[in-house]
Amino acid sequence: MIKKRCISIAMVIMMTLPLFSGCSRSMEENGKNPENGWQQEGSMELKYAENFNVDYYKGGYSLISISDGSRYLIVPEDQDIPTNPGEDITILKQPISNIYLVATSAMCLFDALNSLDSISLSGTKAKDWYIENARAAMEAGDITYAGKYNIPDYELIMSSNCGLAIESTMINHTPEVKEKLKELGIPVLTDQSSYESHPLGRTEWIKLYGLLTGKESEAKQLFDEQAEYIDKLADQEKTDKTVAFFYISSSGNAIARKSGDYVTRMIELAGGNYIFDHLGNPESATSTVTLEMEEFYATAKDADFIIYNSTIDGELSSVEELIGKNSLLKDFKAVKNNNVWCTSKNMFQETTQFGLMISDIHRVLTDDDKDLTELNFMYKLPAADGESNGKR
């Protein structure tokens, strides 16, 4: 952790140095420290996010540094673009418009900021959005589908005067697309929020998008609302309840989250314990672990609660359907005690609501009300014998 911080501090210092020399003319015009060129006025206050930081400079300039090494200088609308900002710095002149948004997790952040109007292209089709406003904007033609992350429609993107492409980390698998977009003069920002280990770290990326869209104070307010849920739970005692969070793949394997992943952190923040202690390689960037059923059964059968991840496999309607995926599941303690929940499909598109999600999980673990079957982001599966009052 300390090592990581030292590296990021060193990175920020190294990144800032060329800026000092490159932007001197512009800064002189804006009135600042002629010796150093740039005059830093402060940094963005970040509580959980570790994969980006923002430094503010006199004249309203902001320098975003992202953990993948990329840097972006946000130039206010009324300011000049620095003449020599440094080769590795991408200039983003406000207002940033006609964004090609590929990172699905970022859409809800733009939506929460009421900034959908700055997006004109999407890497996801209308039918695949669970965010109502995004879907409506696409259906109304305000946002156009411009192809998937791996085969974008370059012509459409160029003809739309795209000001910025916001990609997910999936782009790292197809580096040629990122290189091509840059070649075409389209700045690319890769949303690294999926690498945040703390769930609220993901939500905190709203501050970065708030900066891009000129709505920083709104972003801070929205983030603080979610952080409040965590603060409230921090005072409560941890339960001894264990939770298995997984889905069964089409090949019959159980796909569980790696220990320490943000979903497992959500369970812990909600007062529970993720059933797997040391699952997956902590060094690995991957978030899921494929488990052979026998291995999965040996550990997860004693979990007090099952939360079935419907994102890939689709939502379940009953415990019977779950057992249909593998009959071993009927021996699970959670199935026997009718403690099986399923996430709604929109869960992973609702980055702004992670605080609320954690409070949902907390209720699952602590609320003894048998009539509790529907929460904000999950619902209880009706038992095999029909005991549960599940609404679905």
Binding site: P152, D153, L156, M158, S159, E176, I255
Partner: protein
């Protein structure tokens, strides 16, 4: 006799002219067609005067033209590679991927994606291209080692298929430990596409494919002798051992280049040489080699045009289009030939 010779030449010239016309028409269509409508007047200005709207200029010069050039070069390479292997194995269904080349490439890409990307967050496209090329050459290396011990060509095909299975098995092992993102991306890679090609890529592929194709053309005489039988070629002074190695090496080199830049593109390597030989009614390498290259280019130009425009902005894979449109044509020609 003279009349027969004349008819043959007319057939060759007719085929060549038809292909050239198709080539030109498809080039024009590829330049004209796309998600953005650029007028013919603008295209002419962009191509010959370099002026007008900057966006349209970039669309033509940085998106459409490099992609089109890639499909010309790689399509030709695939067809030529297929012709060489069909000659070598004396088998009409032998294609560029029969020696496990695509499986080798996929295996290496899987290794890079799953091991490198799971530890480091990013990798450059050059690394993936190099991995795919290395995988292809690795499979081919095994085939070459085996070819020194195995005399029978059919046994060599079996060995190539077996190597393909081993590579696929290694890939499957990697996939077992991979996360969803890697699995999805590996699947996407294996679909094959010319999308996102840059002039830099075109430069590299041209520097591999064009000299290799020239060597193939210069080898027309020994290839022709080999077509008449190994013993005949031997009597003509062809060093069979070296010749076989050269044939496998050249075809693999061409195919590896295609796979590295565009992923595995099926069917073109099998269909085009077959179609070209059917039209020309000859297998003479001196005639077939250049026309095969041209035919492959035309075929890929057409398939890529359909792939990127049919459901734009969604793109189909080139393999999907080449199979859907190519298979009925080949079957029709085969049946027609049989009836005749």
């Amino acid at each position: 006799m003279e009349k027969g010779k004349g008819t043959r030449y007319i057939r060759y010239i007719t085929t060549l002219i038809v292909l050239i016309i198709l080539f030109v028409v498809l080039i024009l269509l590829n330049i004209k067609s796309g998600s953005v409508n650029v007028s013919i007047k603008d295209i002419i200005n962009i191509l010959f005067h370099g002026s007008v709207n900057e966006t349209n200029y970039n669309i033509i010069w940085k998106v459409r033209l490099p992609r089109m050039t890639a499909s010309i070069i790689l399509g030709g390479a695939l067809a030529l590679s297929g012709f060489l292997l069909q000659t070598f194995f004396n088998n009409p269904i032998a294609g560029p991927y029969v020696l496990g080349i695509s499986s080798g490439s996929k295996m290496m890409v899987a290794i890079v994606m799953i091991t490198v990307l799971s530890r480091y967050h990013s990798v450059s496209s050059a690394v993936l291209i190099a991995a795919a090329f290395a995988g292809a050459m690795l499979s081919m290396g095994f085939v070459l080692i085996i070819s020194r011990r195995v005399q029978s060509v059919s046994m060599l095909i079996v060995c190539g298929v077996m190597i393909g299975y081993i590579c696929s098995a290694v890939t499957d092992i990697m996939i077992t430990f991979a996360d969803d993102a890697n699995i999805v991306n590996l699947h996407n890679w294996s679909l094959g596409s010319f999308s996102g090609t840059s002039w830099k890529d075109v430069g590299v592929m041209a520097s591999v494919v064009l000299p290799t194709s020239l060597i193939v053309f210069l080898m027309s005489k020994p290839i022709g002798a080999y077509q008449l039988g190994e013993s005949y070629a031997k009597n003509m002074g062809v060093n069979i051992k070296l010749f076989r190695i050269m044939l496998v090496l050249l075809s693999s080199f061409l195919c590896a280049c295609v796979t590295a830049f565009a992923g595995p593109i099926s069917f073109v390597g099998i269909a085009v040489p077959h179609l070209v030989k059917s039209f020309l009614k000859t297998s003479k390498p001196l005639i077939v080699t250049p026309i095969c290259f041209l035919g492959g280019s035309v075929f890929c130009l057409g398939c890529d045009l359909i792939a990127r425009t049919l459901f734009a902005p969604v793109e189909l894979s080139v393999s999907t289009v080449s199979s859907i449109f190519g298979v009925p044509i080949v079957i029709y020609i085969m049946l027609k030939k049989r009836v005749q």
